[in-house]
Symmetry: C2
Subunit: 377 residues, 2 copies
């Protein structure tokens, strides 16, 4: 048998740490006091146990708990349940890290394309990639398709729907996807460059299945999905059974957690099959730190079982002026996503898009950045 080692951050007085660690081990497994667990198999092979506690002089402590792999049933939903089901209800407990044994990881596919697959789609071997967003919602499908064409023909690699675009009356999913895919194909023909359109899929499973079918029928090259919004187990099932093209994971609703961003965005989304992952870059309009962003990129790209590497996509208020800094920080295996700052150029959008593309290409040529500027843990 094997165990998953799970790390939690605990905010509590130091002298309560051992008791809290033991409480987490029980809450996340048998949900009973240890003395009530009389069955020898349960006590030996199912009940969680404290691996170690790490008290800090100031601030929160850390505890490492061992949970039996068999409790997951090798199911994604049940795994989340074991990691953080009831403990998520404890305000003083945060889920920080999880170290899965090989037998567990071997039961999941991970990203089907990863960084190399996305690069192969685009015929771009080494340089950082560029991404832009179609917005605001409320525009007609034709207006969004026009934006899509302008961005793609001016050199953007991936044009994605704003994650707020769903199946609204003003730009119905089927109509919008068809229009934007035609726009991206026209841009590809005219520019001779490859580019991908990634529509946003959102809804309950039956709705997602319908949207995935439209994606296949229209020959769309990528999709955008928010795992926390549609349900992380749904994301995994959809990616492994109904979507062939690369999948870009969006963090919407995932910040509503007390799970460390590197774990949920870098590790868990990759585990469930994200080929690329969008996250709020530091210094933007979200409060993520440089350390958290480095942690996300590391977990997305490091060696992990036999899983393909996930492309980090820093976003959230990026501007053309920060391109060189961002490339320097993340290295070449990154995709920069600029949304509002491009669209703010309005009738200068084409020129602004070209500046963005040039800035990213130049930054890579001029920097001595290696594909992984961030040290791999």
């Amino acid at each position: 048998m094997s165990w998953i080692e799970v790390t939690y951050r605990v905010s509590a007085p130091r002298d309560q740490l051992d008791a809290i660690a033991q409480a987490i081990a029980l809450e996340q497994s048998v949900e009973l006091p240890a003395e009530v667990v009389t069955d020898p198999f349960v006590a030996r092979s199912v009940m969680g146990r404290v691996a170690s506690t790490h008290a800090a002089d100031e601030g929160p402590h850390r505890v490492v708990i061992r949970l039996a792999t068999s409790t997951t049933g090798f199911d994604a939903a049940q795994t989340l349940n074991m990691l953080f089901g009831n403990s998520s209800l404890h305000a003083h407990v945060e889920l920080i890290d999880a170290d899965f044994p090989p037998e567990f990881l071997a039961r999941f596919t991970g990203p089907r394309h990863g960084i190399d697959g996305i690069r192969a789609c685009l015929h771009v071997a080494r340089r950082p990639l560029t991404c832009a967003a179609l917005k605001p919602q409320g525009l007609s499908s034709d207006a969004l398709a026009t934006l899509c064409y302008t961005l793609a023909v001016n050199g953007i690699d991936v044009v994605k729907d704003d994650h707020g675009l769903a199946d609204q009356s003003y730009s119905p999913f089927a109509e919008r996807v068809a229009a934007c895919q035609r726009a991206i194909e026209r841009a590809r023909r005219e520019s001779g460059r490859r580019c991908l359109y990634a529509p946003s899929l959102v809804g309950a499973p039956a709705v997602l299945a319908r949207q995935a079918r439209i994606v296949r029928e229209e020959g769309v090259g990528a999709v955008l999905l928010a795992p926390a919004l549609i349900g992380m187990p749904v994301f995994n099932e959809l990616v492994t059974t109904q979507v062939d093209v690369p999948v870009i994971a969006h963090p919407a609703y995932a910040g509503a957690t007390r799970i460390a961003p590197p774990l949920i965005l870098g590790r868990l989304f990759r585990w469930l099959g994200a080929d690329a992952v969008i996250f709020p870059n530091f210094g933007g309009r979200f409060a993520y730190t440089a350390e958290q962003c480095a942690g996300i990129a590391t977990y997305a790209r490091d060696e992990w079982a036999s899983y393909r590497r996930t492309l980090p996509v820093p976003a959230g208020g990026l501007s053309v002026e920060r391109a060189a800094e961002v490339v320097g920080f993340y290295g070449g295996d990154v995709m920069l996503l600029i949304g509002g700052s491009l669209l703010a150029a309005r009738d200068q959008l084409a020129a602004r898009a070209r500046s963005f593309v040039a800035a990213v290409h130049d930054a890579f040529e001029q920097s001595a950045a290696l594909p992984s500027a961030i040290p791999i843990r």
Copy 2:
């Protein structure tokens, strides 16, 4: 057109409140600076707007934002996206409340059974109900079925799986559900009393569909589902298309949010179809306050559109000794869930279960509690 009024709690200096309120209104709708929104339809009918700001002298402030109903596409996943998609990534923002217009609520069914439907299943008109849990995981299906029988034959109304029970090798779903349902039927025959077994369904949509089929085939009387774990949109779809019997919602993974408990557990779970909702009672092993618990029960049971009322199920370290207090607090329309404290009785389980049932019945008879002791807002 109509608007959803959404309340957020904001932790920030008071002089930044207006700017943050405006930023939330944009982030949760157009995701662009207002001056970039040039399309008159978008500016008028899609862009979010600040309804009011409420500065507090100390502690967090509140802001109320109006989001256009049409942006939801009347889809559960997209509605969560509009309420808290990107703002969930802001550590200083919490989602507190949402006031949906009638045209929105009319598009969703809400609970299909509600309190009255559960009472009809059990032939219990007025008194509080009792619920117990099968645990720990690791026990065989036969051992769990024996527990199920003992609890049911001694008067417990609803016996549910521990939410940690999934499809593990030591008690596979199909085998466990068949065994426990047979046990509950035997208890019903012997006692002449009605009781319900509620197995826990967990997994990706295809797994849930398989489990729901087993539930129907075995004639099971209720199910347990954790909406936040499987995905809230999945929960809604499953409940409206594949599960006929009453659904008890479990809060696992739902505490991992920065969403106020009364909103997510009382309001949103009811909106999506929960007939009963489990939540951590105050004074137990979770840190919910009496005010939060009253808020959950109020949102579960108050008049709301044409939705049936959802049964509040306080839990989380309840004991027989607290039964009278709990009944006094919530009134008659409540179901008390006692888990570990019953099982700790080991070979005295039957007697302990009878004490629990008697304590709840007595408390109701002796108290002057009306069905809703908590004032309806």
